[in-house]
Amino acid sequence: MNLPIYLDNNATTPLDPRVLEAMLPYFNSKFGNAASRNHAFGWAAEEGVDYAREQVAQLIGATEKEIIFTSGATESDNLAIKGVFEMYKEKGNHIITCVTEHKAVLDACKHLEKLGAQVTYLPVKEDGLIDLGQLEAAMTEKTILVSIMYGNNEIGVIQPVKEIAAIAHKFGALFMTDATQAVGKIPVNVIVDGIDLMAFTGHKMYGPKGVGALYVRRKNPRVKVTAQMDGGGHERGMRSGTLNVPGIVGLGKAAELCRLEMEEESKRLSALRDKLQSSLLEMEESYLNGNKENRLPHVTNISFKYVEGEGLMMAMKDLAVSSGSACTSASLEPSYVLKSLGLSDDLAHSSIRFGLGRFTTEEEVDFAIEQTKKAVNHLRELSPLWEMFKEGVDLDSVEWAEH
């Protein structure tokens, strides 16, 4: 077993060796520019891209022409949200999203507010899911877009996308979903789910970093987005820039592997995850965050009360885990996702996200259980708060003296 054990597969995943192998020829033998239309090097590159487009489309039930390759999910999110806002501004300026979205969605929306967008940020219930009644109540004639993520990156809850799509469509709005965490992990089908735009990325499904995609529906309705980057008119004019051919080939291969292995892999992972989760929840004063049933198979997020957050991360140094999203982990702020479930700052700080992956073994999970228990118990032994709790002091009623 190599230490530290990597249990942060929601932040990023290792590149599958089979993906790497598929990418290699495109660096220096089939190295052409996919837009070079009059020679063999260009065609070979284009062929690689076309095949990848098929592989990606197949994973999500789309057609090839509906796949726009980008540099990653963040760019896809930006393109979808800003692109719809610009394209449909005649129709309205209202966008509905939710407080637990990834920063890529929230920050794009905040940016649009400065340009005249009205944005509704729906709250979530204690279990991390949005209230469909609240969504419906928020819809107006001016609503052009509902953007709700598929699976949450911190707590793994799966939003009722089909129902959300139906509500959006009932009011003539488009439905966009950031499915970065869900695509490749659970069956996602844009037709069944009624998705109009969907962002996802390679590096969350054992593909390479620096490449992602945006699904843009072409039929019922035909969706258009205004390009956010102009140039050679690549990707049907929606995203200019020389195609990252090896990256795209890698994304395609990763998508194919996920499609073929998803069913068994999700069973294996949810069994391991459940083992980890139930063992840790056996501990006193440990709580699961987010809805237990509607959840991605490989994620669990657990709060350990009366444990100091930073100390916990230090004590678990043999485990590569995270206390929230990697994209915000540099900041010392407690997770806004956990806070929106109603957790206090302290409890949010002492929460850990475990993200299992394709290369996680049972041995590693057993080790993680042991290490986490040891760390939590150790820190509680040192904690006066834990001692007071054990003595039956109601900590909420204590008035702390000011220094």
Binding site: F31, G42, S71, G72, K209, G247, M313, C327, S329, A330
Partner: protein, 378 residues
């Protein structure tokens, strides 16, 4: 024989570059924003790459921002440089890359700016007096001029442009996609606000590039959603792409003189051979080595009926070249660059572009094949 003479479209990744990328792809997969050791390790790799790039360009790492490539870098500089500074007037030329022209036109169409095009002579030289006149006549302007034209190779004196822009307090964006790693750029001296790189033009990987943003200009991000690139560009970094970019730059700078001599010799030789062997052959743009990018040669063929067969026949002979920029190949509207220099549309143009991997034998082979094609046609 297979000959790749389309290196202005893209270049093969250098083996040394791939080796370095491979190692990272195989072993270092963390998310650089993660605070655990998997993440920290990768963060170090990225910052080392940034330092390498900055060092070669004589600037500080805090002015180098990694992007997904040249087009994203150009768009960021132009859109944010103009919008965030309330610029109402921009100056460019009709022979700039589409990433520049189309972006500026989009801003013009949305009513944000007035757009002026500089006069360009028949060899692709922009009129710098016209630039001064326009700067004099307008309020603070945004100027976007490329270092070397990607289709005809004509170089622009960007040091002079930088001085003029400084004199009139204009913002200067320079698309250096074709020249980065081919000529030394000294950012401690060059008066430029934005400069752009695409790694795949210098034997680095596709999907990686950077934007130099001078300390003296502040912009907001174009892509939101994360604190990456010091809050300037949201999105998980393309770690191996960045590693490959830095390595490619390192090699390009290490071997720059040697490559320049080798490639310039190939180009000069090809010009000589074509002149000797093909009647009525001409060249688009400057060909003088002082005024022309040494990797690009745009050949203007004699008028012929089946112009479109030229590239086709070259391809049959195993020769990869291009009719224009790859980014617009496949379109039938003809090259905007050749239109911009008022080239005779009846004379077919083929761009041959070279790299360090090309040889004199390849030039001989290509010239022989061209001779065959032209003789048949004549």
């Amino acid at each position: 024989m297979r000959v790749y003479f389309d290196n202005a479209a893209t270049t093969p990744v250098d083996k040394e570059v791939l080796k370095e990328m491979y190692q990272v792809m195989e072993t270092q997969f963390g998310n650089p924003s993660s605070i655990h050791s998997h993440g920290r390790e990768v963060r170090t790799v990225i910052e080392k790459a940034r330092k390498t790039v900055a060092g070669l360009l004589h600037t500080s790492p805090s002015q180098i921002f990694f992007t997904s490539g040249g087009t994203e870098a150009d768009n960021t500089a132009i859109r944010c440089g103009i919008i965030d500074h309330g610029i109402k007037h921009a100056i460019t030329s009709r022979i700039e890359h589409h990433a520049v022209v189309h972006t500026l036109e989009a801003l013009e169409q949305s009513g944000l700016i007035k757009l002026s095009f500089l006069e360009v002579d028949g060899k692709g030289n922009v009129d710098l007096q016209h630039l001064e006149d326009l700067l004099k006549a307008n309020e603070r302007s945004f100027v976007s001029l490329m270092h070397a034209n990607n289709e005809i190779g004509t170089l622009t004196d960007i040091e002079r442009v930088g001085e003029i822009c400084e004199q009139y307090n204009a913002i200067f964006h320079c698309d250096t996609v074709q020249t980065l790693g081919h000529y030394p750029h000294d950012l401690s001296k060059l008066k430029v606000h934005f400069m752009v790189c695409a790694a795949h033009k210098l034997h680095g990987p596709k999907g990686a590039g950077f934007l130099f943003i001078n300390h003296n200009i502040k912009i907001r991000p174009m892509i939101y959603g994360g604190s990456q690139e010091r809050n300037m560009r949201g999105g998980t970094e393309n770690v191996y792409g960045i590693v490959g970019l830095a390595k490619a730059m390192e090699i390009a700078y290490r071997e720059m003189e040697q490559h320049q001599v080798h490639i310039q010799n190939l180009k000069t030789y090809m010009i000589e051979q074509l002149l000797q062997n093909i009647p009525d052959i001409k060249f688009n743009g400057e060909t003088d080595s002082e005024k022309s990018l040494y990797t690009v040669l745009s050949v203007s063929f004699p008028e012929m009926d089946m112009a479109e067969m030229l590239l086709f026949n070259l391809d049959i002979a195993g020769i990869s070249a291009s009719g224009g920029s790859a980014c617009s190949s496949g379109t039938d509207i003809g090259s905007h660059v050749l239109n911009g220099i008022k080239a005779n549309p009846k004379r077919p143009a083929v761009r041959f572009s070279f790299s360090k991997y090309n040889t004199k034998e390849e030039v001989d082979y290509v010239v022989a094949k061209i001779k065959d094609v032209c003789l048949v046609k004549a």
